[in-house]
Symmetry: C2
Subunit: 131 residues, 2 copies
DNA sequence: CAGGATCCTTAGAGATACTG
DNA sequence: CAGTATCTCTAAGGATCCTG
């Protein structure tokens, strides 16, 4: 084993220039997180407009951009049938599924603790609201 | 067990108006995620400028805003000594620590798979780059 | 149906200067 | 040291129209 250099710490999100920051932003961004979560549903595979309905509030443009970024990062697989009308199915790749798992653990935890969060907010606003 | 209504699903991030979306954005946002991660370090407690140095690239303004949002959500505790010069320490609350745990699981997973991601990107750019 | 192309708006972000 | 205040400006995001 050679430990003179640090090849295993190649990617550090704390560094401004690390590409992992970009990927993390795709994954955790407003629409990225919801899109991955939607695709993690049991159905496994969803069409463009199905996704759009699930991800409440997303525009066509943002969903399209989000899906492209996730596909480029190898987290989402895009299956386009050259039929008319066109039919395109999106599903998670194996890597994407592992990412989504961890993402959902975070999301569900936050959802489950929202009462605490909301309580903390009220307390904060009462004490510091008088600024 | 009564399953006729769904009171336990009170917070659903898929809904445009759910407050959990806001909290999730504080947690997963560019600076929120890095700030929580930095505070999850073994030291436990960090001062403003220590944080600023760890979170490479953050401005005073954004760090300040981020910390306020996280404090308001009850994830970060702020301890200000009214001395001169002032000294303020930030640390995770118990709830914040649980959130950070799950967040770090996601971050470390992504960091560990960046080679795959970068490989996928190259393949994507080669095949679709010709647009 | 799945998205590309366009235009438009504004909130988020950075830089700087100032203060207790 | 730990912020706040102010300014500027870009780029994310939304709405709309269009096409294979």
């Amino acid at each position: 084993m050679d430990l003179t250099d640090t090849p295993d710490l190649a990617y550090d999100v704390f560094s401004r220039t690390c590409p992992s920051r970009g990927t993390l932003e795709h994954v955790t961004g407003r629409w990225g997180a919801l899109t991955l979560s939607a695709l993690a549903a049991p159905e496994g595979s969803l069409r463009f407009n199905e996704l759009r309905r699930r991800v409440d509030g997303v525009s066509e443009k943002m969903l399209s951009q989000t899906l492209q970024a996730l596909e480029r990062d190898g987290l989402v697989h895009r299956d386009a049938q050259p039929t008319n009308p066109p039919r395109v199915d999106y599903e998670l790749t194996p890597l994407g599924r592992e990412v989504a798992e961890r993402l959902l653990a975070l999301i569900h935890f936050v959802e489950g603790r929202m009462d605490e969060v909301l309580g903390a907010r009220e307390r904060y606003d009462v004490t510091r609201g008088c600024r």
